[in-house]
Structures are given as structure tokens and as C-alpha cells.
């Protein structure tokens, strides 16, 4: 979802759909999950400022699509962030204590679940144990406020897309369960008949030896679990489109710290995110479609050529946003920039809340791209180091803009050519002119 948000901020089109993310993670204390909520709030804040809270049409380019949370739709429903997790142990959840020692059901429980499984609190997720997730999630979904709200607000022509990993616990077990619950919503035809897509992320990173960290998760089992889950999916999944994204091997190995899960942004997450945008542009298929996305050349550091032509739009979006970040920094010190007088992009504008929100979002974006470009395998199609020779901003391609002054000039020209008198939203003008300027040069990427 982080990659989805970043791509939306970069200008990736959702084909007119507003995105309503529902994040299912029982892991209550996960920092990454909290950061994601903050990121989405940041995006919404910027989007609302560009549209005067919906009274103006969305922009073309950056932040062009709306994100609405399920609790906003439902006004007061508990967010999944609070509702889905529980401190209760799995042992207690299934009432294992009520089973007699010689009860056959007790033997079944002992066979299916390890002691560690049984002692796991549900608030930390299912830690690579889909056998636990399968038991718990079904009830969690059915009884959750968010699921009721989702069914209530899902309307005709809305679409549903599920993003999950297949090699963990929560996602692997949650996806087929959730899909089953959705398709089984007979009383809500808009839900039952909605065009549905899903992306399932295959193993793309490993974890350090669990015996040294004391973790319950062993990445040596990822492939085994994946194969088992795929065999199950093959016969049971009902999505109109099912996308697969994965790596050829577990190139990157992270710390095995289930409390932090401080994993860096990864190229495969970006690929998985891109499947949502692909899905939103496709018609309902006559038969179920299974899709995946390849790269042209398996380099450790991917650029436009090794990624292949299928990634041009993603590269353009990321290049565009990174250029926006550059303009954000440059313009604050550009004392004679004509739009200071013409459009009011003065010191007060740069100190004002909308611009500061954009700046904060951009700092997160820069960090996200840094992680992507230094991870294994690296998504690194940009060369952002040399501000004096910006024609090489996109590796393997020469842009016509040789330095930042080209973009500044195009911003001025975009402003001079804009006769829109319907609003006086400076922040919207800023993003609009910046995008026009950037797009003038970077549209070459798509050719």
C-alpha cells in the first residue's frame, strides 16, 4: 500500500476510481503499519488541499486520485488499525483448555498447531503461520466493523482488489478467506458481483537464521509454504484477475525481528502495486485471468533498459516526483522567480500548511526511493546526483532539460498560459504548473 500511495502521488492514474484502502494486519504495534496510516493521511491532506476538499476536480498529474478510508466513509466505524488485533493467545481463542487431554479434537489441535502457535498472541499477526491465520481471520473478518462498512458502502461498478503475500501468515491465509467472504455476500449484489482482482506476492526476501534471533519465522519454509498455498489457490481463488509478483531467488536477507519488521521498500512491492493500476484499466474478463510481469534483463540494479518497456510509466512517475522534490527545494530559495509576484509563491506560501505537508510527504518519498534504489534487487532508473547535468536524470535516456532552469522556465510558461479563474488555490496551481513543466520533458520516457 505504501508503493500504491507513492505511485498515486507520482501521478499514476486510477482511471477515475477513488481508492479505499482497508489494511488488515492484526499486528497492532507494528511501526511500519502506523507509518503507513500516517502516509495515507498525508496523501489525503495534500489531495484535499488541491481540490478544496472536493469542490474542485482532481488535478492531472501529481495526487490525481482520491484516497478515502473506510472510517471516513462510515463516519465512526473503528478502523482496522484498532479492531482486528487482540492480545488474546491463540490457545485461548480456540478454547483449547476446554478440550480433555484424551479428546480426539485435542490430538487434532496438537497435530495442526505447535506449542508456539498455540501460545502466540493474536496481536502480533500470524508470523508465517497460515494454519493459525485461517482459523482466526475468518471470524475476524465476519465480525469486523470495517467489513460491515465495506459491504454497506460498496456500490455497483466499484471494484475490489486484494494485495497479499503468499509466504507469510496473515496475507496467505487472509486472501482466500476474504475473497470467499466477499463472493459469498449474496445479500449485497454490488459486493458479490464487483470486478475483483488480487495480487499475491511470492517470496522475495529471506530472513536471518531464526535460531540466533529467537524468531518464530523461518524463511527456509517460504517456498514450501508458497507451493502449498499456490496449489490451494489454483482450485479455489475466484478473482477475475490474479496477478503474481515475485523474485527468482531470495536475494535480500533482512533481520529476523518480528517486532520491528523494519524491512526496506523493495522493487517487488512496487511491481505488486503497479498491478492495481493495471487492474483498474482493464474490462471485466470473460474468463479468469492470471497475469505476471517480467523484467527484460535480470540486473542487480534495474534501469529503464533492464526493466523493459512495460515499466516506462512507473519510471516516468517516479522520475516526475523526484523532479518535483527537486523543484520544491530549489524554489524556496529562488528569490526572483516570476511566480512569486504573478502567483503568490512567496515565503508565506512556502511556510503555509499545504506546502509544508507536501514537503513532509516528499521527504518520505525520497526515503522510499532511496530504499528502493539500494535494496536487492535495486530499482534505480534515476540518476539524481548531478544537478548540473540533468539530461541524465533517467539513466539510459537523455532528456532535453539540461538543468533545473529548464523546468523553472516551463513552470513560468505554464503559469502564463493558464487562464483558469475558477479558483485561487495557489497550492493547486503550484502542483499543476510543476507537473506541466516536468511532464513536458519526461513524456519522452514513454516514447
Amino acid at each position: 500500500m505504501k508503493s500504491v500511495t507513492m505511485l498515486m502521488a507520482s501521478g499514476m492514474s486510477t482511471n477515475g476510481y477513488a481508492i479505499v484502502p482497508i489494511i488488515l494486519d492484526p499486528h497492532l504495534d507494528l511501526e511500519e503499519k502506523k507509518n503507513l496510516h500516517t502516509l495515507i493521511e498525508g496523501y489525503q491532506d495534500i489531495y484535499n488541499k488541491t481540490t478544496n476538499k472536493g469542490s474542485l476536480n482532481h488535478l492531472e498529474g501529481f495526487f490525481n486520485s482520491e484516497i478515502v478510508t473506510i472510517n471516513e466513509l462510515n463516519n465512526q466505524v473503528n478502523d482496522t488499525q484498532q479492531a482486528s488485533g487482540s492480545k488474546e493467545k491463540f490457545r485461548s481463542y480456540i478454547n483449547e483448555a476446554n478440550l480433555a487431554a484424551d479428546d480426539i479434537n485435542n490430538y487434532l489441535v496438537q497435530t495442526l498447531f505447535s506449542s508456539k502457535n498455540l501460545d502466540s498472541p493474536l496481536s502480533v499477526g500470524f508470523k508465517g503461520n497460515p494454519n493459525v491465520g485461517t482459523v482466526v481471520l475468518g471470524e475476524m473478518i465476519e465480525g469486523a466493523d470495517w467489513f460491515r462498512a465495506f459491504k454497506q458502502h460498496c456500490e455497483k461498478d466499484d471494484r475490489i482488489f486484494i494485495i497479499s503475500s503468499i509466504f507469510g501468515g496473515t496475507g496467505a491465509s487472509g486472501y482466500p478467506l476474504l475473497e470467499k467472504k466477499i463472493k459469498g455476500s449474496a445479500s449485497q449484489p454490488a459486493v458479490k458481483n464487483a470486478v475483483m482482482g488480487a495480487v499475491t506476492v511470492l517470496p522475495y526476501y529471506g530472513l536471518k537464521d531464526p535460531t540466533t534471533s529467537g524468531s518464530d519465522i523461518d524463511s527456509a519454509n517460504f517456498y514450501t509454504k508458497t507451493k502449498a498455498a499456490l496449489a490451494y489457490y489454483e482450485k479455489t481463488v475466484l478473482s477475475d484477475y490474479l496477478y503474481y509478483a515475485g523474485e527468482t531467488s531470495l536475494i535480500q536477507v533482512y533481520e529476523n525481528d518480528e517486532k520491528k519488521q523494519d524491512d526496506k521498500a523493495h522493487f517487488i512491492e512496487l511491481v505488486a502495486a503497479s498491478s492495481l493500476f493495471d487492474f483498474l484499466h482493464r474490462e471485466k474478463p470473460e474468463t479468469q485471468q492470471f497475469l505476471t510481469r517480467a523484467i527484460d534483463d535480470a540486473q542487480n540494479s534495474l534501469d529503464l533498459v533492464s526493466l523493459g518497456s512495460g515499466y516506462k510509466e512507473i519510471v516516468k512517475c517516479v522520475a516526475d516526483y523526484k523532479l518535483l522534490g527537486l523543484l520544491i527545494n530549489v524554489l524556496q530559495t529562488e528569490k526572483f522567480f516570476p511566480l512569486i509576484k504573478n502567483r503568490g509563491f512567496d515565503d508565506n506560501f512556502y511556510k503555509d500548511a499545504p506546502f509544508q505537508a507536501l514537503k513532509r510527504f516528499t521527504e518520505i518519498y525520497d526515503n522510499w526511493y532511496h530504499e528502493l534504489s539500494t535494496n536487492k534487487r535495486a530499482f534505480s532508473p534515476l540518476n539524481t546526483d548531478n544537478k548540473k547535468k540533468m539530461e541524465g536524470w533517467v539513466k539510459t535516456l537523455s532528456l532535453d532539460a539540461k538543468d533545473d532552469s529548464y523546468y523553472l522556465l516551463k513552470m513560468i510558461q505554464a503559469s502564463n498560459g493558464n487562464k483558469d479563474k475558477t479558483h485561487e488555490n495557489k497550492f493547486r496551481f503550484f502542483l499543476q504548473f510543476a507537473h506541466d513543466a516536468i511532464n513536458y520533458y519526461t513524456k519522452k520516457i514513454l516514447k
Binding site: F337, P338, K402, Y406, L409
Partner: protein
């Protein structure tokens, strides 16, 4: 209309110029004839400053600021002001030197003074055009530094 009177403040009048030859009738008549010739050519001198003053302002506010390089910064406006001054000075001096030549005493200084006066007029016109451009929102990508 005697156009050279525009430059009286720097180049002086015909009387000022011919007074140095009052003791020599031949030179005095040559000086009067030269001044008349210069007066006849003065329309070109005037055209030089008008054309350069306006053309340099148009060039600055239009094509120059339509090309990248942060040309909207005031330092670039100053470059054009200096350019207007220097170009007008050189062109005026070349014109009067080659089109209205004379070996009379003081003509070289007269040419220099005329060129300097014309350059100052051109610079003033460049400034005036810039003020018009900024005040009346004529199309440009430059910073409207004279719009207050």
C-alpha cells in the same frame, strides 16, 4: 526640427562647436558646413537609440526570457541594460565617424559625446520600455521587477 538639439546638454550647440574656429574664416565655414551635415544625419543617430532601446527591451522580455538559464533574474536585466548602452555607443560612434567624417579639430570628441549621449538615451529608453512591460502586464517570463 533640429534633432541635434537633443544632444546639446552633452555635445553642445553649433555655436559652441564653431566658436573655436572664429579666428579662421575658412575653418569656421568648414565647421558650420560639418555641423549642418551632422544635423542632416542626426535622424539616423536618433533612430539608432530608438531602435536599440526598444529592440533590446523586447529581446530581453521575449526571446531571451523564453530560453532556460534563470534569465528572469535582475542581473540579466542589467546585462541587457549594459548591452544596450555599449551597443548604442559603438553603433552611434561608428555611424558618425564613417558617415560624417571630418578632420576638423574637436570632431572626435564631438563624436564621442554624441555616442555617449545616444547610449544614455538608449539606456533610458530600455528602462522606460521595461517599466511599461512590467506595469502593463505585457507577456513575459521575466520577473516584473518594476511592478510595485
Amino acid at each position: 526640427m533640429k534633432l541635434l538639439s537633443f544632444y546639446k546638454w552633452i555635445a553642445g550647440s553649433m555655436a559652441d562647436f564653431t566658436s573655436q574656429f572664429k579666428d579662421n574664416e575658412v575653418l569656421f565655414n568648414q565647421a558650420r558646413a560639418y555641423w549642418s551635415k551632422l544635423e542632416a544625419s542626426s535622424v539616423i543617430v536618433l533612430v539608432i537609440f530608438l531602435v536599440l532601446g526598444i529592440a533590446m527591451a523586447i529581446s530581453y522580455y521575449q526571446p531571451y526570457n523564453n530560453s532556460p538559464g534563470r534569465h528572469y533574474k535582475p542581473i540579466h536585466w542589467l546585462y541587457f541594460l549594459c548591452g544596450t548602452f555599449v551597443l548604442t555607443f559603438l553603433l552611434t560612434w561608428c555611424y558618425v565617424h564613417f558617415a560624417v567624417p571630418s578632420s576638423l579639430n574637436g570632431v572626435s570628441m564631438l563624436h564621442l559625446k554624441l555616442a555617449l549621449g545616444n547610449a544614455l538615451y538608449a539606456a533610458g529608453l530600455y528602462f522606460f520600455c521595461s517599466w511599461i512591460w512590467c506595469q502593463f502586464n505585457l507577456p513575459t517570463n521575466a520577473c516584473r521587477i518594476f511592478k510595485f
